[in-house]
Symmetry: C2
DNA sequence: GAGTGGTCTAGACCACACG
DNA sequence: GTGTGGTCTAGACCACTCT
């Protein structure tokens, strides 16, 4: 090494698979985290770490980015980089379950196009929208917006019925009516997304934070009577489905299972 | 701008929320993608784009990283950056469903600690492991490893019974026996992960690719008789649950729903 | 003020796919 | 060879938190 470049400096395997430095670093750090650190501990700062490993800070950060995506690190501006606690198992309730939710606000406005289509209402028709936060251990881990057409939640007090006043009276009223419905069931989907400004603020994270987007369609009378779009912090949550909403035992972390593949 | 620095150059909002350049760029690009591009189109190359927007290439790439995480872009080395097709709805079958799976191989080896614990077998005890690929439209979208204790799949032909020979005979035998079981149900969980070398190879993606990790616990006779760990490409998949495994209509993309929040 | 992570730059080389 | 994305560097400033 002489010039300015670096790219695949390649410290370990000599000439096989040009493993990127940041990926190798990640592997090293994973091992260190597993053996020498426990949740809540503070890592050395990025400048020290990058010096210790002989890489540029940007490269080190690329490795830390990965680990943060995996939920193994938490970085706090002005504080440092901490070892994250294991992900929480977040039950996805069989019904509009009885968990710790905190109502944020509610309104009456046109739903996003995709939601309107699912609900089978005209694209520009206003619906009730309830926004709430999901809490766990006093932590905001998810933000949800629940969309309910007026035809479903028709008994909203007259004061709110067609206004766009936002408060928790409307929210409570809408939720109550939804719970009273005889639901045929729910269908759900999960995908990866990033938090936009609004969600990011609710989750107390910067915009762009990866989130698990859970979309729930509440079915009744042969149609979809409500849609909920929830965004859960991908770094902290493991969404759990299934008959029992109980705490689950296995974190299922070792993705790269070793399976003997030859004689 | 005169010196070398840049940081919060802040092109738009003058003095309000110091929005990072890359985030602003992302917003601009999202709009462009929505209005001026369609799936499969090739974007201008990164050097041109960064010049056009007056930012460093690294900054542009930060914006593209976000869009790729959201599954809106696909970057192919040596080719270019393409507009991604909308995510596929991937049904998570109610049972060991009849989808397009391709058996990769199978083996007999100790399961990862977490899996062993869930199965209720000693940590060092060998279990059957079947690895298969999930295909959709001829595309590999997920890789799964299924762990079945020997006590459950006991009728494996003698030739494979306790050897570590890996082939599809063992795989088929194990799958057949699992399907014949009377299952009480399955419980599942979904979390975000990154593909390690092995999975990455199967999914034809570089290591570190974000994946949705789906863990399925098959219940029978009051216990867990098998565990499957599946990793799905997070950029291409939307995992769908629910009574009907049918194609779903609403992509639920607009996460940042606009809810009137004041008078 | 000192220390931390977050953002940004300018320039370089590498690995890959194509003609 | 040419063009593309992928990796890496060295150095800088910004925003935040704590003392």
């Amino acid at each position: 090494m002489g010039t300015t470049q670096a790219a695949q400096g390649n410290g370990a395997a000599v000439a096989d698979a040009p493993e990127p430095k940041y990926w190798h670093l990640r592997t090293v750090l994973v091992r260190a985290l597993d053996s020498e650190f426990s949740a809540g501990e503070v890592l050395p700062n990025e400048r020290d770490l990058s010096a210790r490993f002989g890489v540029a800070r940007a490269t080190l950060r690329q490795a830390l980015d990965q680990l943060e995506l995996e939920g193994r690190l938490v970085r706090r501006r002005g504080i440092g980089t901490l070892v994250a606690a294991p992900r929480m198992g977040v039950p996805v309730a069989g019904t509009t379950g009885r968990d710790s939710w905190r109502i944020v606000d509610a309104g009456y406005a046109p739903a996003p196009a995709a939601v309107a289509a699912t609900l089978g209402v005209p694209a520009d028709e206003s619906v009730h929208a309830v926004r709430r936060l999901r809490l766990m251990h006093g932590q905001a881990i998810g933000a949800e917006t629940l969309y309910v057409p007026e035809t479903v939640a028709s008994h909203v007090p007259a004061i709110f019925a067609r206004s766009s006043i936002a408060d928790s009276s409307r929210a409570r009223s809408v939720l109550r009516q939804l719970q009273r419905l005889e639901l045929d069931g729910e269908s759900r989907s999960v995908e990866l997304g990033v938090a936009e400004e609004q969600q990011a603020r609710l989750l107390e994270r910067p915009p762009g934070t990866p989130v698990l987007v859970l979309t729930t369609r509440y079915q009744a009378q042969g149609g979809t009577v409500a849609v909920a779009v929830s965004t859960y912090r991908a770094d902290m949550c493991r969404l759990t489905f299934g008959a029992s909403g109980v705490v689950d035992v296995a974190p299922a972390e070792p993705v790269a299972a070793e399976v003997r593949t030859a004689s």
